[in-house]
Symmetry: D2
Subunit: 283 residues, 4 copies
């Protein structure tokens, strides 16, 4: 029983490497999470335990994939940004997407008891689909992240208003929906404030801003901002190895801050710094 | 904070649908399973509990994806065959690969305690990468499955001989490796028989043949072989709905049999039957 | 001035090979041909010289690409069918599409004076865009060809009626358009017959059916139909070389016949015959 | 004869748009040009008429594709650079590659008599294959162009030396080959100078540098360098229309200058300028 006569079937596998010098985003999304929320009585509009479970799972993904420079998540989705110079799995899209999505899934399932003590998971287990997208420029990657954070804001403002109308205002979901149809952000802010005495800006930052995650180096960056930017020479094995170890040991910062404006990025230029000055991302 | 100015980033997402009328195989592979085997003391050459855990996870995947017509697995890999007419997720490769791989991962993690009672899983959790491959013809799909089963045979014969030499024969792993270098199947069979009184063909079928899984319809196929082949008209919603329910209720057969020869397929022509006579797979 | 430092740019080239065991159709389409028609006063509804020029160009393409088993064309488009087992240019899509489209363009330009004597070509020169499409099954390939021929019929019946209304019926183009809006084939046949005494079925076959082109082997196929089917063993260099020579010497049949029904194909089974019995297209 | 039943075959066409915000290079290469050179007795090492024919064909391609910002060619190849913001043909790769390659082919065939008066073209006509490559950063695009120009230099220095050895030095081609094996640039310069009194740097620039082509705007750029950079707002139809007309009227500069160093680009910043400040190519 030789298998050489069958080996030709390998020629049907396609090569799906993502073009070099593109930032790679692996975005994962909960599958059928509205049912999961219902079954396990997630709190509305936000279930803090669920979000913290998402964040815990994401932290582990960031920890194991040292090429991830930043992750951003809200609701049941998370985006992991791999550096444009990343060569993991030869940049093959399917490998990257499935490796991230399965680790995230495993973490979510295994960490569940820590965040939902006493609530047993039931089938269908939580799972996540995923996909890779390539962004050719740093500016466009930032626009991608802004898109996700703006989306988080819009959804959360809506959901916060909607669920206050329903849970505190005594409206049916249809009534709340009708009321909110066509309203602007300012209208929703007004409804929250007038009817429920809620200043939206005082809502939890995690709900309003989502969660951003990145490696925070031990170096005192305030005093010596260039510390974070010691970019290893890709041709020096020892420098690369040292850089990898540094990444593995780095604390992973988990924050709920604005990443649309320039402030966040100006303070942490190393996050999206080119792999080596003047090479790949030379513009 | 409008997100319309950022929406253009969606144009970077590529459309990865698999061409119609191709059989889709999603193959998943354990990531870093040799370390997992060591850490949890998997038995050599085969750990029955681990294989049965793989099979249990695969059964659940087959159960939830009604478009899977057959699955084949051995060692730490599994191949799920989606019918050539499948339209799940619009045939998008990333969706298919990540949905299968994450469900398999979740099942594996959650079912672990049933198969390894008393052995707690530890990080890194078991995870699986996955990829889609498209096969344009039934014959080529069968060659793919033959390739995997022939591979199972070759690996298992080698491993069985190797581990007998080490565990019962007192050889070092290097000595066993050297002894087996360049040997034919017949040589290994001979070593097993002469040195250890083992007739390879009496080894467990699951080890030798791997595991094949498919929906076995309640209909008495022996008496009425056409029962399994009631192919619904894709334009009839009620027929399609009925067919889906039938698939969901179907018992999933789990067998350790030869799928290289024609016998298996001739007895179960419905497994790879065209979606509708004379249409998609018309040759 | 070494160029080694720049060679990395090659890594941006993607591999665009078409999956094996798929029939490859390269379809070319005239670019901006309505202007070309106007400028050179092509006759309406069909310009015989222009169609014959298309056919002459296509014949040369078929002659040089021995892997083309059939070509079909009408109006300003042509489809070239490469055998599913074809390995030309490693099946790279861009190579195939540009090689066919540029040869077709060169032939069209260079043969122009033979078909339009006295009419000088002017810029913009006639050019053709092209693309590859992969069809996994013989049946689907035949549906593709049926689609093109049915399209030819529909367009030609419309155009024949339209231009008769305009040129002989004295209508304005708008009036003719309005009259034909919503008409069925039978209506158009009726108009042609009642108003202009034209039996559509007596129109030239080239206009009604388009043009089909294939290698007609010298062998007396009527008497010995298996002659056309001597399929060479791909592992025998001499057989393959002999087959190639036979293709190069073969007369190229140019016909205006129905290829939607089975008749054409049943008489010439060798056209879409598998590369080797029982291998690639095994179903 | 309805064709609706066959329309499903369109679903086999894949979408091959090149990701936005990438520079697109369409490179065309002469097919079988060594035979063409022989048949028409092209002069060695360079045939000026042939190169000028290439340049004339390229000029017409640049003229008709206003999105081409620069073209570079030598020998029998030409690279056409489409601006990263180009939306021609929705950026579909096959359309771009075949449209450029067929126009180039048509120009080459039709212009032949102007450059080779008295020499009639013969079959096989000159044709060109083509492909698209996407470059995500301006810096990488420049490296691509440097790669081609360095390649031109290396080949031309070799060919100049080789053919002088053969044509003037009386060597056989094998002897010349052997002599040059392993030589450095400096060795070849030395051979040329010592044996043939040739200072390589005095060879024609077109041979040494290839040909670079771009739109030179009428504006007096020396005095007012920002003139060339009036970047239209993509949302203003009138500005875009005006910009297009300006491109169509622009003189196409044809030069044989260095494009590896920064000088060329610093003098003409508008060539690779972003479509709109701060948008697409924002880094």
């Amino acid at each position: 029983m030789a298998n050489s006569q069958y080996e030709y079937v390998r020629s049907f596998e396609t090569w799906d490497a993502i073009s070099p010098s593109n930032w790679i985003v692996v975005r994962i999304d909960g599958r059928g999470f509205s049912k999961l929320c219902q079954k396990h009585n997630f709190q509305k509009p936000n279930d803090k335990r669920a979000l913290e479970l998402m964040n815990a799972a994401a932290t582990e993904v960031v920890r194991s994939f040292v090429d991830v420079v930043l992750a951003y998540g809200d609701s049941d989705e998370y985006s992991f940004v791999f550096h444009e110079s990343c060569t993991l799995f030869e940049r093959r899209a399917a490998k990257l997407a499935t490796s991230v999505a399965t680790q995230f899934t495993a973490e979510y399932c295994m960490l569940w008891p820590c965040f939902f003590p006493g609530t047993e998971l039931e089938r269908p287990w939580p799972t996540f689909d995923g996909r890779c997208v390539a962004y050719p420029k740093r500016k466009i990657l930032r626009d991608y992240l802004s898109w996700r954070q703006a989306d988080c804001h819009i959804n959360n403002l809506y959901n916060t208003t909607f669920w206050n109308l329903v849970l505190k205002g005594g409206m049916s979901t249809t009534e709340a929906e009708d009321l909110l149809k066509g309203t602007l952000s300012s209208d929703k802010n007004e409804i929250l404030f007038q009817r429920f005495g809620i200043n939206y800006n005082n809502e939890e930052a995690m709900f309003r801003k989502g969660t951003v995650m990145y490696r925070a180096y031990d170096d005192n960056l305030e005093e010596n901002p260039s510390n974070g930017m010691q970019i290893p020479d890709p041709n020096s094995k020892s420098q690369m190895e040292k850089a990898k170890k540094r990444k593995q040991k780095a604390t992973i910062a988990v924050e709920h801050v604005d990443i649309i404006g320039d402030g966040f990025w100006e303070k942490r230029p190393y996050i999206l710094a080119p792999a080596r000055r003047g090479q790949d991302s030379g513009e």
